[in-house]
């Protein structure tokens, strides 16, 4: 529905299931290179709402040049800047309010499991789940303080290690007052029954849910709220 250009701000630094394999050497991308991409995207954007950009590939709050990446994107004319994040650092003082004040309105929180036990285990980062919960709450508070709107979605990379936990992940997205949850399925990682349970859990809590990469029980669940455009 709404296009977002995925702009990597680094490599191998995005939260993923550690059990599925090591992502490789982590490296942040230089801000100048990122902003060259963003400026090109903004200049070439045609039709529909936008330009919109998602910073991917690296935990944004671990990027040493995040403030420059955010402010420059706004200056380049980006209408919606979305940060794909594990949300753990948002609870640190100033981070949520600072990012909001700089112009970020949308977060895509990566969630691997529906409990501290499962999420932290798959992320191999003890304490991350609780930190993410606090981080999303801090983000909401920053939006409320600023009197402005925000949109928080949950991205769930589905693998055989978290398949059974998907309904609980949807429940967590609702508990964290997220607006949407996106299940990203690769291969045959999830059964249709479990996916259906997760999707219905989201719906009955008022959270929009959709799936990419697998069959779903309703056309609505196959309808993306956004489309990721690689550049």
């Amino acid at each position: 529905m709404i296009d977002y250009a995925s702009v990597p701000i680094g490599a191998a630094g995005e939260l993923c299931c550690a059990r599925c394999g090591a992502p490789g050497d982590m490296a942040a991308r230089d801000a100048a290179d990122v902003l060259a991409d963003v400026s090109r995207i903004a200049a070439q954007w045609t039709g529909g709402p936008g330009p919109n950009v998602t910073y991917t590939g690296f935990e944004p709050f671990a990027h040493p040049q995040l403030p420059a990446l955010v402010t420059s994107a706004a200056q380049a004319g980006v209408q919606r800047l979305r940060l794909r994040t594990d949300a753990g650092a948002l609870a640190s003082p100033g981070n949520a309010a600072g990012a909001f004040a700089a112009g970020v309105r949308q977060l895509e929180v990566v969630l691997l499991g529906g409990s501290a036990h499962s999420h932290d285990r798959l992320a191999e980062k003890p304490g991350l789940f609780e930190a993410a919960a606090a981080g999303v709450a801090a983000w909401r508070a920053a939006a409320t303080d600023a009197g402005d709107r925000t949109f928080v979605s949950v991205r769930v990379p589905v693998c055989r290690h978290n398949e059974a936990d998907l309904p609980q992940v949807a429940a967590v997205a609702a508990a964290w007052r997220c607006e949407a949850v996106h299940f990203v399925v690769t291969g045959d990682a999830a059964s249709e029954a479990v996916l259906a349970a997760a999707l219905e859990t989201a719906t009955v809590h008022g959270v929009a849910a959709f799936v990419s990469g697998a069959a779903v029980p309703s056309q609505v669940y196959a309808t993306s709220l956004w489309r990721e455009v690689d550049v």
């Binding site: 709402p49 706004a74 209408q79 309105r105 607006e179 949407a180 719906t203 929009a208 309703s218 309808t223």
Partner: protein, 425 residues
């Protein structure tokens, strides 16, 4: 309902969405006050619909002196609360006369009287003439059932008087703005310049089955606008006209009237427009009037639903209208209704995709409510619409979309709207 010797004490009570104040009770108060045959003590009270109905009843029962009559306009959104309020009132004070009116109850007056024993009378259609006449009848021991436009009880039987024609000369209706100081609600206020609607959308009660337009005179409109827009502290106001840009000529005259106040920074918000008839010239007129935001359809993009609902839609003209508004700095709110007869899931999804493509400032997605008095209400069985008989009459299923997908689409649409709005400003 016996003849009275003292002034009839009438409480006009509005139950409104938070931040709103009932325009209906304001009109009715002015109309009753202007009735020369009636010696009435009038009070007007407004409550937020978020307030517990028992507390509203408490407030009304605590009035001293107690009212003889409580009259309440009813919308589908407030009907459940109103019914609860009057049930408590009637239990506490059986001699109290309860009169309801408005779009939720007027078209189904006899059903409401049968189902709601606490209600004594229902005003059908516009109330500015009917309610004063009904109050005169009540005050003089007359027969309420004989009053045109009234349904009431006669020895336990529900009886309807003859229908009343809609008021032809709207200027004959006393202005709610001119005689008493107008107090804006949350810094804003509402005005109407005409009644009726040029469209006959089958889900809407606005035109009441007719495309007849009845307008206030330009002198009256100018006086009402002046009375409202000159109130200290007013920041914005709005018109409840179904189509603000009814004709280019009318739009231009409205802009002439509103422009002096727009120059003082008073803005018009959420004006309903026919977006397909807005070009750069019309957009400039809207700006001249002070319009900051407009609300429009398309409600649906599906051919079958558009035909069933008697609506037209041209994607190119719609997009051009939105673009013209944006160029003029006017925010556009687009509305979609989920569950119109004839629409499939695919049609609704295409509708969401279309409105997203024009990048509105606001996307409002709501499930169909089958409203009393509308064509859809009358033809629900034929069209396969299953809806809650209790207000607000929300849709449960259609022939083409089941209950589960309706809920999914609604959640999906609301999230899409939130995503659109979460943008840099």
């Amino acid at each position: 309902m016996a003849r009275r010797r003292e002034a009839l004490r009438v409480a006009l009570v509005g139950v409104n969405a938070p931040g709103y104040r009932s325009l209906a009770t304001a009109y009715l108060k002015a109309a009753v006050a202007a009735e020369p045959r009636l010696d009435a003590a009038l009070m007007r009270l407004d409550f937020d619909a978020s307030v517990d109905p028992w507390w509203i009843a408490y407030r009304l029962l605590a009035l001293d002196p107690a009212p003889d009559v409580v009259a309440m306009p009813v919308m589908c959104w407030t009907a459940r609360q109103v019914y609860e309020i009057v049930r408590v009132l009637k239990q506490a004070r059986p001699e109290l006369i309860v009169i309801l009116g408005g779009p939720e109850v007027g078209p189904i007056a006899e059903e409401v009287l049968s189902a709601q024993p606490a209600v004594d009378a229902v005003v059908r259609g516009e109330g500015e003439v009917t309610l004063p006449e009904l109050l005169v009848a009540l005050d003089r021991g007359g027969d309420p059932c004989a009053v045109p436009g009234v349904s009431a009880r006669d020895h336990g039987e529900v009886v309807s008087g003859p229908d009343r024609e809609a008021v032809s000369d709207l200027d004959s209706i006393p202005s709610p703005f001119l005689d008493t100081p107008w107090v804006p609600s949350d810094g804003s206020a509402y005005i109407e310049t005409y009644r009726g609607c040029p469209h006959r959308c089958s889900y809407c009660f606005e035109g009441k089955g007719s495309t007849r337009i009845r307008s206030f005179s330009w002198e009256r409109i100018a006086a009402d606008v002046a009375a409202v827009a000159s109130v200290p502290g007013l920041r914005a106001y709005s018109f409840i006209d179904p189509v603000f840009n009814l004709t280019p000529d009318r739009l231009s005259r409205l802009a002439d009237i509103c422009e002096p106040y727009a120059r003082n920074g008073i803005r018009l918000h959420t004006i309903e427009v026919d977006i397909e008839r807005i070009d750069d010239v019309a957009a400039r007129e809207l700006v001249r009037a002070g319009v900051a935001s407009v609300e429009t359809g398309p409600q649906s993009v599906g051919a079958a639903a558009l035909s069933e609902c008697r609506r037209s839609f041209d994607a190119d003209r719609f997009t051009a209208g939105v673009e013209a508004c944006k160029r003029a700095g006017i925010a556009v709110e687009c509305d979609l209704i989920v569950g119109l007869p004839g629409d499939t899931v695919d049609d609704v999804v295409r509708g969401l995709e279309f409105v997203t493509s024009v990048d509105p400032a606001v996307l409002q997605v709501s499930t169909l409510h089958v409203l009393p008095g509308t064509d859809l209400w009358a033809r629900a069985g034929e069209l396969g619409l299953v809806f809650d008989p209790e207000p607000p009459h929300e849709l449960i299923a259609t022939r083409d979309i089941g209950y589960a997908d309706l809920r999914r689409l609604e959640v999906h649409g609301v999230a899409l709207g939130a995503q659109l709005r979460a943008a840099n400003r």
